[in-house]
C-alpha cells in the first residue's frame, strides 16, 4: 500500500519544479496524469543528460528521472477543443500542479478566484519563480537567476573570494527541487484538510521565497542585529579551519569547531608536534587566522597520504567529523545507499534498464518508491483522461 493511493492529480507543469513536485507525489502512490503538447511533449524531454547520440523525445535522462510513475496524455490546451476536454475531465481530479504563470492559469480558468468559484473541492498548486504577481524587475528568470536573487549565491561558496563571481548551487535545478518539495508538502496537507472540510484551495509557491525561508536561522539573526548585515560575501560563514581539502584519491570535508574535535585530530594525525603550541580550546575561543592557516597546512600535508574513504573511517571512529566528498560513482557504491536501496532499477522501453535515485525517506507502512518508468509521449492517450488514467 502507498500513502497517496487513489489520489488523482493532473500535471500541467512543463518545467523541473512542477514535474519534480508531481514525481514526489507519484512516488507516494498518487496517480499523476501528465498533460503534454501533442507530438512535442514536455520541454524537459529535450534536455540532457542523454543516453548517447539519440536525443529524441524518449531519450532524456532528465525527463526519465522527473516523471517516473506518471502517465502521459497528449492534449492541446491551446485549442478550444483541447480546453473543452480539459474542462470536462477536471472534475475527476483531486488536484492540479502547474508551473507556468498567471496568464496561463487565467486562460485555463484555474486562477485562485475562478477555482474557488467553479471547483470548490480542487487543490491547485502553482509554482513560479517569484510568485504569480512579481514586480516588474522579476518577470523573467531561470533557476540561476532565482538562486542568485535569493541571497544563497552571493554567499556561495563558503570563504568566497571577492574577486570571483558568486557561485550557483549544485547542478542546474536546485531552486526547482526545493520548490517541488514545498509544493508537494502543501498539496498533501491541503488534501488532508479537504477530507474534513470538503474544500480545496489554491497554493502559490515562490521558488525565491522557498530559498529565502531555507536560511531563516541566519536571516533572523541579521534582522535582529545579532549578526552583521554587510555586503561581505562571507557574512553567512562560521569561520575556522573547516572546509574541503584534497587527498590522495579525491577530496574530503572536515568540520572542526570544538575541543573534542581537536583532541580527536591529535590521535588521528601522524605528526602532532605542531599542535603543542595551540591552546586546547582554540577552535572555540582563540581561532586566529594564523592558527587556521597553520592547521590547514598540516591537514593538507597529512591528507596527501590518505585516501578519502579510509581517512573518513579512521576519523569517525575518533570522533573527528571528517567525511568523503562523494561523487556519483561513490554513491552507487556506497554500502549505506545499497543497504537503504536508494537506487532502484526500472526498465524503460527506450533507455533500457537503468538505476534511478529514489527518495530520502523510508516509510515502514507505505514505502515511497518510483513504481514505473517515465511514460512515453502519449502512452496513456487512449484511456488517460476519460478514466483518470485507470
Amino acid at each position: 500500500m502507498t500513502s497517496l493511493q487513489g489520489l488523482k492529480v493532473l500535471e500541467l507543469a512543463e518545467s523541473v519544479a512542477g514535474e519534480y513536485c508531481g514525481k514526489l507525489l507519484a512516488d507516494f502512490g498518487a496517480d499523476i496524469i501528465k498533460i503534454e503538447k501533442p507530438g512535442y511533449g514536455s520541454p524537459t524531454r529535450r534536455m540532457g543528460p542523454f543516453a548517447g547520440a539519440e536525443t529524441g523525445t524518449e531519450h532524456s535522462g532528465l525527463f526519465a528521472y522527473l516523471n517516473t510513475g506518471k502517465r502521459s496524455v497528449e492534449l492541446d490546451l491551446s485549442s478550444e477543443t483541447g480546453r473543452e476536454i480539459f474542462r470536462t475531465v477536471l472534475a475527476q481530479f483531486d488536484a492540479v500542479i502547474d508551473d507556468h504563470g498567471i496568464e496561463w492559469l487565467r486562460e485555463l480558468e484555474l486562477d485562485a478566484e475562478t477555482v474557488q468559484q467553479n471547483h470548490r473541492g480542487l487543490v491547485v498548486c502553482s509554482i513560479s519563480n517569484f510568485g504569480l504577481e512579481p514586480p516588474e524587475d522579476r518577470r523573467h528568470a531561470e533557476d540561476i537567476n532565482v538562486f542568485h536573487s535569493s541571497g544563497w549565491g552571493y554567499h556561495t561558496p563558503t570563504g568566497a573570494d571577492p574577486a570571483k563571481p558568486p557561485l550557483s548551487g549544485a547542478g542546474r535545478f536546485l531552486p526547482s527541487y526545493e520548490a517541488g518539495i514545498e509544493g508537494a508538502m502543501c498539496m498533501i496537507a491541503a488534501l488532508y484538510e479537504r477530507a474534513n472540510s470538503t474544500l480545496g484551495q489554491f497554493i502559490e509557491i515562490s521558488k525565491q521565497e522557498v530559498l529565502a525561508s531555507r536560511i531563516d536561522y541566519v536571516l533572523a539573526q541579521m534582522v535582529a542585529g545579532e549578526m552583521n548585515v554587510s555586503t561581505e560575501r562571507t557574512a553567512y560563514d562560521l569561520g575556522g579551519p573547516a572546509g574541503i581539502f584534497p587527498c590522495k584519491d579525491g577530496y574530503i570535508y572536515i568540520w572542526l569547531s570544538a575541543p573534542a574535535h581537536w583532541e580527536g585530530l591529535r590521535q588521528l594525525l601522524d605528526d602532532t608536534t605542531w599542535m603543542a603550541e595551540f591552546p586546547d580550546n582554540w577552535l572555540e575561543r582563540e581561532c586566529t587566522p594564523e592558527r587556521v592557516a597553520l592547521c590547514r597546512q598540516h591537514l593538507v600535508a597529512w591528507l596527501k597520504t590518505q585516501s578519502k574513504h579510509d581517512a573518513a573511517e579512521k576519523a569517525q571512529k575518533l570522533g573527528v567529523t571528517l567525511v568523503a566528498v562523494n561523487n556519483a560513482q561513490d554513491l552507487v557504491e556506497s554500502p549505506q545507499y545499497q543497504f537503504r536501496e536508494f537506487f532502484v532499477e526500472l526498465e524503460h522501453p527506450q533507455l533500457g534498464i537503468q538505476r534511478y535515485p529514489t527518495v530520502p525517506y523510508r516509510l515502514s507502512a507505505t514505502p515511497a518508491r518510483p513504481a514505473a518508468p517515465a511514460p512515453l509521449l502519449g502512452q496513456h492517450n487512449e484511456k488517460g483522461l476519460r478514466e483518470g488514467g485507470r
Binding site: S149, T156, Y361, S364
Partner: protein, 316 residues
C-alpha cells in the same frame, strides 16, 4: 473533528518534538505553519545550543526564535524515569513525534518506536539522521556541510576546472527538515484514511542527493561523473554571473537564441547575435570564454539593479 475549521490544513494535529539545532526544529516549524500544534520538549540540563549561542537571554535568541515560532515548549527532565513517563503521557495524546537526536539516543532514553507505539499505536514517528536510522554507516554523525559532502552535492559546486568548493556552510539542515516534513504529512494522510501510523526514517545525506538527481542520471546512463562548472549550464549560454560597478554582480541567462538576440541588442552590439562565434547555442558553448568576456566588459560599466530592471523590461 468535523465541519469546516479552515485554520491551517493541519489544524487539530498535535506534534511533539525531541529535536536539536536546526533540521528537526525546521520540520516542526513547517508543520506549525501548516496549522499543527507543535510542542517542543526541552530541558535546562541539555539546552539547545541555538538558545544560548552568542546571546545573553535564552528566551530571546533570534536564530532559535526564527526556527521555532508558533511552538509550545515544555521542560521535562529526560534523565529521570518520571520525565520519560511524562513524555509518554504526552505522546499518548499526540499524532506525530519528530526526533533528530544522535543515533540511538531515543532508544537509550526509552523512547524508541516500539515503546511509543505501545502507548500510541497510530503514532507517526519521524526519525531524522545523517544517514538514516539503519545500515552500515548509520552510526556516523556530522553537521550540515557533511551531509552535502557525502551526498555528491558539494562535488558539483565549484568554478570550472577547479577543486570542489561546496555550498555555503549553512546549506542542508533546512532542506533536510523540509524533506522530513513532506514525508510526515504523507504519513498523516495515510493515517487519516486508514488509522494506521508508521515509522518514517529520513536521511539527511539522501535529502541532499535528491537535489542533484538529474546529475546522477548522467552517470547512470553513460558513466559520466559530473563536476562543478561554475555558473555555466550545458544547455544555455550566456548563463552566468557578471561583475557590475560597486562590487555588485548580475546573473544573466539566455534560455534560447531569441533571448540571446535580445541580450546582444541590449548591449548595443546586435551584430554579435549573428556573429560566427555566437549564432547558435552550440557555438556559444564552444566560445563561452570569449562570450563571457564580452558580457563582462559590458556589465562592468553598469549598476546591477538598474541593469536588471532594464533587461527585465526587454524580456531578459
Amino acid at each position: 473533528m468535523t465541519g469546516q475549521l479552515r485554520g491551517g490544513p493541519l489544524q487539530g494535529v498535535r506534534v511533539v518534538e525531541l529535536t536539536k539545532v536546526w533540521a528537526g526544529p525546521y520540520t516542526g516549524k513547517l508543520l506549525a505553519f501548516l496549522g499543527a500544534e507543535v510542542i517542543r520538549i526541552e530541558s535546562e540540563k541539555s539546552l539547545d545550543v541555538t538558545r544560548f549561542y552568542g546571546v545573553d537571554d535564552i528566551n530571546k535568541a533570534p536564530g532559535f526564535m526564527a526556527v521555532n515560532p508558533q511552538k509550545l515548549s515544555v521542560q521535562i527532565d529526560m534523565k529521570s524515569k518520571e520525565g520519560i513517563n511524562l513524555i509518554l503521557d504526552l505522546l499518548r495524546e499526540s499524532d506525530v513525534l519528530i526526533e533528530n537526536l544522535r543515533p540511538g539516543a531515543v532508544k537509550r532514553l526509552g523512547l524508541g518506536y516500539d515503546v511509543v507505539k505501545a502507548v500510541k499505536p497510530d503514532i507517526v514517528y519521524t526519525s531524522m539522521g545523517m544517514y538514516g536510522n539503519e545500515g552500515p554507516l548509520a552510526y556516523q554523525t556530522g553537521y550540515a556541510p557533511c551531509f552535502a559532502a557525502l551526498s555528491g552535492l558539494s562535488s558539483l559546486v565549484g568554478y570550472e576546472n577547479q577543486p570542489p568548493a561546496g555550498m555555503n556552510v549553512r546549506y542542508a539542515d533546512s532542506t533536510f527538515g523540509a524533506a522530513a516534513a513532506l514525508a510526515t504529512v504523507a504519513a498523516l494522510f495515510h493515517r487519516r484514511r486508514t488509522g494506521i501510523g508508521q515509522y518514517v526514517d529520513v536521511s539527511a545525506v539522501e535529502s541532499m542527493t535528491s537535489m542533484i538527481g538529474d546529475s546522477l542520471m548522467d552517470y547512470m546512463l553513460i558513466g559520466y561523473i559530473q563536476t562543478g562548472y561554475g555558473n555555466r549550464h550545458p544547455e544555455m549560454a550566456p548563463h552566468g554571473v557578471f561583475p557590475c560597478v560597486d562590487d555588485e554582480w548580475i546573473s544573466v541567462a539566455a534560455s534560447d537564441d531569441a533571448v540571446w538576440h535580445k541580450i546582444a541588442n541590449a548591449m548595443g552590439q546586435p551584430a554579435l547575435a549573428v556573429d560566427e562565434r555566437f549564432s547558435t547555442l552550440a557555438k556559444r558553448k564552444l566560445n563561452e570564454d570569449a562570450l563571457n568576456q564580452i558580457i563582462t566588459t559590458w556589465t562592468s560599466r553598469h549598476n546591477a539593479q538598474a541593469l536588471a530592471t532594464e533587461l527585465q523590461a526587454l524580456g531578459i
